[in-house]
Symmetry: D2
Subunit: 286 residues, 4 copies
C-alpha cells in the first residue's frame, strides 16, 4: 500500500516543486599535507546536462565542531539555492563544503588555519582548491570564486580573503569568530586540547589585528574583494563583527554590514543564505 501511495505521490506533479535542480554528493579529497583524506560535500547545479558549461564556485565553511554535511543537513542549503536559482537571484554555481576537522576523530584537528600537525590553510589553497577546480568545470580565477562561512568558518572565510585577496571576488562572514583576544570562545588550560589549539590559531590569525597592521598596499588589495558581515543581535560574537566593520570603514575598505534578529543558531545561518548566495552571485564576473 505504501508503494501505491508513493507512486501516487509522483502523480501530484502539478503541486510539486519544479525547481529542485541542485544535487549534493560527498567526496574525499586526499591530502599529503594533512596525511589523511578530507570529506567534502559538493553541491552541483544541473552540471551533467552540459559537458562544457563552466560554473562559478563558492567555498562554504562550517563552524566549530561542525562537519561537511552541516550546510545541507542543518542549514538547508539546497532548498534555498533551488529557490534563488529560480528567480535568478542566485547564479547557478558549485558549492564546495569541506570538513575542517571531525569531532569524532581524535587525531583530526578542528580549524581553518595552520596548526601544529595540521596545516589546514595550506591544504585548502594548495590541495583542495586545485583538486576541486580540476575535477569540476568551475572557478579557476578570482572573478568566479567566492568564500563564505559561519562562526569559526565565518572567521575562516574572512581571514582567507584577507590573506588571499587575489583568490576571491567576495567574502561573506556570518556570526564570525574573528579573534579570541577576549576569550570569546573560552579555551581550556590544557594545551594539548584541540579547542585550545583552535582558539590559539584564531587569536594568531585575528582579522582585527590584520586590519590594524595592514600597510597601504595591503589595504588596496583588500579593496579588491567585496565584503559582507552579518551577525545576529543576540549573538555573543557580535562585537567582533562590528569592530571589524568599523576598522575596515576607517581604512576605506567598503563593506556591507547587517545585524538581523537572532542568535548563534542554524536558523540565523539558514536565513543568511538568502543574502549570501545572491551577494556572491552579484560579484561573480562572467
Amino acid at each position: 500500500m505504501k508503494k501505491t501511495f508513493l507512486l501516487l505521490s509522483v502523480l501530484l506533479g502539478i503541486a510539486f516543486a519544479l525547481g529542485a535542480q541542485n544535487r549534493i554528493q560527498t567526496e574525499e579529497v586526499s591530502s599529503s599535507l594533512l596525511g589523511h583524506s578530507v570529506k567534502v560535500n559538493v553541491c552541483l547545479p544541473r552540471y551533467f546536462e552540459s559537458s562544457d558549461r563552466h560554473y562559478p564556485v563558492l567555498y562554504l565553511l562550517h563552524g566549530l565542531y561542525g562537519v561537511h554535511t552541516d550546510w545541507e543537513n542543518r542549514g538547508g542549503l539546497r532548498a534555498v539555492l533551488d529557490e534563488l536559482n529560480g528567480t535568478g537571484e542566485a547564479a547557478e554555481m558549485i558549492v564546495i563544503m569541506p570538513c575542517a576537522g571531525d569531532p569524532d576523530v581524535q587525531h583530526v584537528q578542528n580549524g581553518y588555519f595552520n596548526m601544529p600537525g595540521c596545516p589546514y590553510e595550506d591544504f585548502f589553497f594548495e590541495e583542495l582548491i586545485p583538486a576541486m577546480e580540476q575535477k569540476y568545470r568551475c572557478g579557476g580565477a578570482k572573478q568566479l570564486r567566492a568564500v563564505a562561512g559561519l562562526s569559526m568558518g565565518g572567521g575562516g572565510s574572512v581571514v582567507y580573503a584577507q590573506r588571499h585577496p587575489d583568490m576571491f571576488s567576495s567574502c561573506y562572514g556570518m556570526s564570525a569568530w574573528l579573534d579570541n583576544q577576549m576569550n570569546q570562545v573560552r579555551q581550556p588550560e590544557n594545551q594539548d586540547n584541540k579547542l585550545y589549539i583552535t582558539a590559539m590559531s584564531v587569536r594568531e590569525h585575528s582579522a582585527l589585528d590584520f586590519i590594524d597592521n595592514a600597510d597601504e598596499k595591503t589595504v588596496q588589495a583588500l579593496r579588491g574583494v567585496k565584503w559582507f558581515l552579518d551577525c545576529g543581535d543576540d549573538d555573543g560574537l557580535l562585537q567582533l563583527t562590528t569592530d571589524l566593520f568599523l576598522k575596515m570603514k576607517r581604512r576605506g575598505i567598503p563593506c556591507e554590514l547587517r545585524v538581523r534578529n537572532g542568535a548563534h543558531t542554524w536558523e540565523y545561518w539558514h536565513t543568511a543564505l538568502r543574502l549570501s548566495l545572491p551577494f556572491a552571485s552579484r560579484n561573480f564576473t562572467f
Copy 2:
C-alpha cells in the same frame, strides 16, 4: 575526547542562543470515535515555569502523507517560534500538531474530514480540542484559538474555520488544497484507495463551494474570523487560493493574500511560519 568537546561547548555560552525556550513533546490522544489513539506533537513555551499562566493555542496541520512530527522535523517550527518570541512578534503560545492519518498504517485514513470509517473532523472537535485544552492551560475560547496548515492541512484549516467560525479567531491556509473538482490532486479509480477517499472528501468539502453557497448569516459569521491565504507562485495549487480569495472579497469577507516566490515545498512553509505565527498572535485577544 568527544565528551570534553561537548563540555567545552557548554562554555561557549556567550555565543549561544539564549532564546531557545520552546519544547516539543509527543503524546497520544485516545479516540473512541476513531477507534484508535492519535499521535500529537505539542510545542510548549516556558509552560512549567508557571503553574497558572494561561496560553493561546494554535492548531497546526500537516499535509497529505504527513505526520505529527513534520512541522518540527521538516518545517523547523521551534527555531522560528523561538526567534519570533524573542522580539514579541509571536506570542508565547501552545502549538498542537495532530497526526491526520499515517502512511505506514494501512487501516488509518489520511485526511481532516469525516470519511467512511474515519470521522476525523468529529474527533478533532469533540475529542482532540477538549482533551488538549483540558490537559493544558490554553485556549478555551475562540479569541485564544487559531488554526493553520499546509496543503491538505491548509485546506483542512480553512474548511474547519468555515464550518466552525465560532471556534477560531484566525485561520492561515498555506498552499491549501481547497477543492478537488479539477483533480488538482489526481485520484486513482480504485475506490477503496486511501487517496481516492481523501480526494473525494476534499471535493465534498470544497472551500470554494462553501463560499458560493453561503447565505448572508454564514457570510456574517465568516467575517468574524481573520483569514490569511499564502501560496507560492510555482505551486500547482495556486489557482485554488486565488479563486477562494476573490470569492471571499466579492462576498465582503476580509482576507489577506500573499503570493511569494516558491513552490509546494517545505522551504515555503518554513518561511510561511514567519508570517503565520505573528498573524495568529495579532488576532488573539488577551
Copy 3:
C-alpha cells in the same frame, strides 16, 4: 542665520548619504507622429564621469492621469536606486520616464497605445526609444533594455513586451490594468471623453486576449522575455494579474508573480521598485 545652518549642514558629512549618485533631468522629445513634443524624465547614474561607458536602460511607465515626474516625486525612484546601486542589487542604469498624456492639456490623450489622433505606441518605438538611445550611451539592444510600469503603465509595459518581445529582456508589471472587459476602470458613455478612449484602447489591447490568441510561434517569442507581475491583495485590479499569470503558466511561459500587502497606492509602487530594479538588472546581459 539660515545660511549658516545650511553651511553647517554640509559639515555633517560623516552622517550623510555617500551613495547619492543618480540624478534626474527633464527633457522634451519632439514627435512628428504626435504633433507635439513629449516631456521625459531621465534618471542618470554617474553618467558624466565617463565618456564611453555604455548603460542598460529601463523604460518606466506612469499610470492613468500621471506624468513623467511621478516616479520621482511620488515613487521616490532615486532614493531606492541609490540604495540598491550601493549593494549591487541594481545595476547602474538609465531610467527613462516619458509622459503619456497630460491631464492638464485637453488635446493630449492619456494612454500607451495608438488611439485616434494619438499614435503613442508608434511614437514610443519609432521616436522615443531611438531618440533616447542615440542621445545617451544606453540600450541599443534587447539584452540591455527593460520595461516596467504601474497600473495603466503596468498594462502598457506588459503589452509592449508582448507585442515587441524582441525589444525587451524583461518586463515588470505592477498593479497592471491589463484589460477593460469587465469595466475594471469604469468608462463614461461620452465617446469623445479621454477616459473612454483610453479604456477602449486598453480593451482592444487586452493582455489576456493576447495570450488566448497567441500561436505557438508567438508563445515561443514570449518565452524569450523575463516576466514579473506584482499586485497588492487590496487592489481592485488583482484578478487581471492572477488571470494573466495563470494563462501564461498554462501556455508554458515562465513568469514570476508576487501578491504583497497593499492596494493601488504609491507606497505599493515605491516598495515594488525594490523588486523591479533588481529584476531588470538580473536580466540585463553585459
Copy 4:
C-alpha cells in the same frame, strides 16, 4: 475637462486604496516655559468615528534642522501606517510630531534637551504631553505611550526614555545621535551658534554616559522599557548605536538592534517605520 477627470477618478473605486484612514492635522501648543507656541503635527486614526475610544500614543521626533511636518512630507508616515493598520501589524494609534526648533526662526533653538533660554525637555514633559493627552483620548499611562525618532530625534527619544522610563513602554531610536564626544556632528567655535548649543546639549545628555553611570536601581528601571536601535551600515553615526547597544547588553538591559542597508537618509527612516510602528504596537498594553 480636468474636473471631469477628477470626477471619473472617483469612479475608479475598485482600484483605489480602501485603507486610507489616518489623517494629519497641524496644531499649535502654547508654552509658557518656552515663551512661544510650538507647532505639532498630529496623525489621527478614525478618531471621530467614535466618541469614547481611547488610543495609544506615539511621540515621533524629527532630526536636526527638521520640523513637525517632516515625518509626513519626507517620511511618508501615513502611507505606512495605513498599510500596517490594514494587516493589524500596527495598532490604531495617535502619532504626535512636535517641532523641536525651527531653522527659519532665529530665536528658536533646535534640540530636545534643556538649553539656555530653551527648556525643551521641560516643555515636552510638562506641557506637550499633558496638553495632547488631555485634548485627545490617548495615552495617559506608560503602557499606552511610546517614543521614537530619527537622528537628533533618535537621540532625543533614547535619552527621554532613559530619563523617564516610567513614561514610555517602548523606545525606538533610528540613526540616533547619542553623544557628541567625538564631534560626530562637527560644532562651530562660535558659542552663540545654535548648532554649537545643540551639540553641547547632546554631549551633556550622552546616552552612552548614562549607561556607564547608571546605578543598579536605574538599570532596573531601564529594563522596564522595550528598546530598539536601528542604524544604517553607511551611516556615520553607526558606532554610537553599536556602542550603546553593547553597553546595554553588558548591563543586562534587553535591546533589539538592527543594522540594515543604508545611510543617513529619509529612505532609511521611511523603511524604519515598518519596524518601529509594529514594535511600538506590540509593546502597548490594552
